[in-house]
Symmetry: C2
Subunit: 350 residues, 2 copies
C-alpha cells in the first residue's frame, strides 16, 4: 500500500513529437488522478501559459495551483546527438526538468524527448546510485500471468557480469517497490536454460546471483518465450539484446493487429462478426496498448527518470507520469540501495 | 522458376517429441506434393515398416517406391549434450541421416531432433562451405510486405564482424535462391540506424558490407521493429540476440492469440461475432502459424540441413521437408559460394 504523500514531479513540456499541448493534456489527466501531487512544467512560458489558460475550467482553482510553469528558452531536438545536447542545451526544457530533481525540488522527471540526451543529461546531473556502475532502461511487458519488467532495453550496448547483476537488483527492486511483489522471480535471458549455456557475462552473473542474499527468487537462465509465459517477474539482459527484442516485439504486435484488422474486413460476415465482438476487440486493443506500459524507466540514477515514447499521445504520457509517481512513492531508489548491499555484503554501507 | 529435377532427401525419422508416426505422416504429405523427390527414412526398421504399411493405400505403388527405409539402431535424445551425441550416437538415426548427405546419396537432411546435436553432427560430417567460418541458423518470418529471413537464430553466441558478414551473404543467397528475390534488401540489427550506433562487430560488418560487391541492397543498420515492417528481406544479427528475439516473438504471438481467444469468449455477443468471423480468424491463425515457417535452416554447411521444431506435428515437419527441397533445388550452397567471393574479390577461387 502506497502512502499518498505530497510529491513534486518535474515535466519536460517540450519533448516528444506531439509537443506541449499533448503534455499539458496528459498533465491534467494525471493531476485529476493524484490530488496530492504537484507539478513543475518546464518549457516555453507563453505557450504553456496559454495551454493551461485554455484548460482553466477543467483544471479548477485547486488543480491549477498545483502546477507551476518554469520558463526554458530552448528545447532538445529529437535527432540531436546526446553529446551535443549535453554541452549546448543547458537552457533547454529537458535540462531544466532534470535540474529540478537535482536540486531536490522534485523527486521525479518525465520527458518524451530524445532518449539519448535524456540519459546523458540525467547521468551528468543526477549521477548513479552508490554501488551501481551503469544505469538501465526498464520496460514493463504484459504476460500470461500479469506483467514482467524487462531490462536493459538500450542504455548499455555491452555488459559484463557485474552490470547484469546490477540490472537484476534494480529490476527486482522495481518489482517489489512499484509492482508490489514481495519476492520477485528473476531470470537471465539466455539461449537455453542449462547452466553451461551462453557467454561469460551471463554465466558469471548467474554465479553471483545464485549466492547473493537478495529478496528475490533467482530462476537462473530463461529463454525468450518465458517472458510472455509469465515464468519470471524480471527478465535481465544486455541493452543490445533487450533493445532489439523490445522493438521486434512491438513490431510483431503491430503486425498481428494489422493482420487481424485485414482479416476481419475481408467479408460481410467477418465485418458483422467484428461489430458484434467489438467490445472484446477493444478490450484486446487496450491490453496490447504499448502506451499502458508507462514508457522507459531509467533505473540506477539518483532520482526517478521516466522516458515516455517520443511518438506518444496524452494518454501514454499520463501513464508515464503515473509510473514516475508510483516509482517515487514506492521508494524505488531506497530499495535499490538496500538490495545492492545484498550482493556483496562486505561492501554494504551502514 | 525451379526445375523439378530428381532429388533425394534424407530424413531422421526418430527425432522430435511426436516420434516416427508424425514423421511418416509428414513424409506422405511431402511426397504427394513432390512427384520427383525420393526419400530415405532413417530409424527403427520394424516400426517404420509398420507405419508405412498402414499407409500403403494412401501411398500407392509409385509413391511407396520412392521411399527407402534404412535401419538405425539408436536415436539421439532431446536432452542429450551435443558433445556426447557426437561421440556416442554414430549409430543413431540422426547421424545416419546426415551421413546420407555426406556420401552424396542425398542432397538434404531434415530432423526434428536435438538442435545442438544436429548442428554438431552436421558440422562434423559435412563441414563448412569454403570461405564461411561459422554456420548459422536462419528462420523465415512473416512481415507486412511478405517475409524476411532472420539469422543467426542461435548457432553462434558471440560473433565478430567477419561472421556477421558471412551471415549477411548466406541470408542474401537464401533470399535469392529460395525466396526468388533478385536483389534482397539486407540490414544489420542494431539499437539505432545511425552509423555510430552499436558495438565494434556490427559497425565493422557494416563497413565491410558497404564496400562489398554483392547482389543485394545493403540497408545498413535496422531496428527490431523494421523486421515486421518489411523494411528488409534479410535481418542479420548474432546468435544470442537472434535466438532470444525469435523466442520472445514466438511467445508474444502466442500471448496475443490467447488474449484474442479469451476476449472473444467473454460475452454472448462476442462469441456470436467470433462464429461469424471464424473464416477470417482461421485465416489469421494460418498466417501466424509458426509451422509454416519451415523450421530452422542451417546455412553454411556442405549440404542442406533443416531442423524442424522439436514439438512440431506432421504439418510442420512436411513444411520443413518442403523447405529443404526448395533449398536444394534453388542451389542455395552454390549461391553462397559465389556470393562469398564478392566480399573479398582477391580471395575468389576461379
Amino acid at each position: 500500500v502506497k502512502v499518498a504523500r505530497e510529491l513534486m514531479v518535474s515535466i519536460d513540456a517540450m519533448g516528444g513529437d506531439a509537443g506541449p499541448s499533448m503534455v499539458v493534456s496528459a498533465l491534467v489527466r494525471s493531476a485529476q488522478r493524484h490530488p496530492s501531487v504537484k507539478y513543475i512544467l518546464h518549457g516555453d512560458e507563453t505557450e504553456l501559459g496559454e495551454l493551461l489558460h485554455k484548460r482553466r475550467f477543467k483544471l479548477g482553482l485547486h488543480l491549477g495551483q498545483r502546477i507551476t510553469v518554469r520558463h526554458a528558452p530552448t528545447r532538445v531536438a529529437m535527432n540531436e546527438k546526446p553529446s551535443y545536447a549535453l554541452r549546448r542545451r543547458r537552457d533547454s526544457s529537458m535540462w531544466r526538468a532534470i535540474e529540478s530533481v537535482k536540486t531536490g525540488e522534485a523527486e521525479a522527471v518525465v520527458s518524451a524527448g530524445n532518449t539519448g540526451a535524456l540519459m546523458a543529461m540525467s547521468m551528468y546531473q543526477l549521477g548513479l546510485i552508490d554501488g551501481i556502475t551503469r544505469p538501465a532502461i526498464a520496460t514493463v511487458w504484459p504476460t500470461q500471468r500479469g506483467q514482467a519488467v524487462v531490462l536493459d532495453c538500450g542504455a548499455n550496448i555491452e555488459c559484463d557480469a557485474e552490470q547484469l547483476v546490477d540490472f537484476a537488483v534494480m529490476g527486482e527492486a522495481f518489482a517489489r517497490a512499484v509492482l508490489g511483489l514481495p519476492r520477485p522471480r528473476v531470470g537471465l535471458l539466455n539461449v537455453g536454460s542449462e547452466e553451461l549455456k551462453g557467454h561469460d557475462a551471463v554465466r558469471g552473473a548467474a554465479q553471483i546471483l545464485r549466492s547473493a542474499n537478495l529478496p528475490m527468487e533467482f530462476c537462473g537462465f530463461i529463454e525468450g518465450n518465458h517472458i510472455a509465459e509469465g515464468v519470471v517477474d524480471v527478465a535481465v539482459t544486455d541493452g543490445f539484446t533487450g533493445n532489439i527484442t523490445l522493438k521486434t516485439v512491438e513490431g510483431t504486435a503491430k503486425l498481428i493487429a494489422g493482420y487481424l484488422k485485414a482479416a476481419l474486413r475481408r467479408s460481410f460476415l467477418s465485418r458483422l462478426g467484428a461489430v458484434l465482438a467489438s467490445g472484446a476487440l477493444m478490450a484486446l486493443k487496450r491490453k496490447l496498448d504499448p502506451r499502458a506500459a508507462g514508457g522507459g524507466l531509467f533505473l540506477g540514477l539518483n532520482g526517478v527518470v521516466v522516458k515516455s515514447h517520443g511518438g506518444t499521445d496524452a494518454l501514454g504520457f499520463a501513464y508515464a507520469i503515473d509510473t514516475a509517481i508510483d516509482m517515487a512513492l514506492g521508494g524505488i531508489n531506497k530499495s535499490i540501495v538496500a538490495d545492492r548491499a545484498g550482493v556483496s555484503p562486505g561492501m554494504a554501507t551502514p
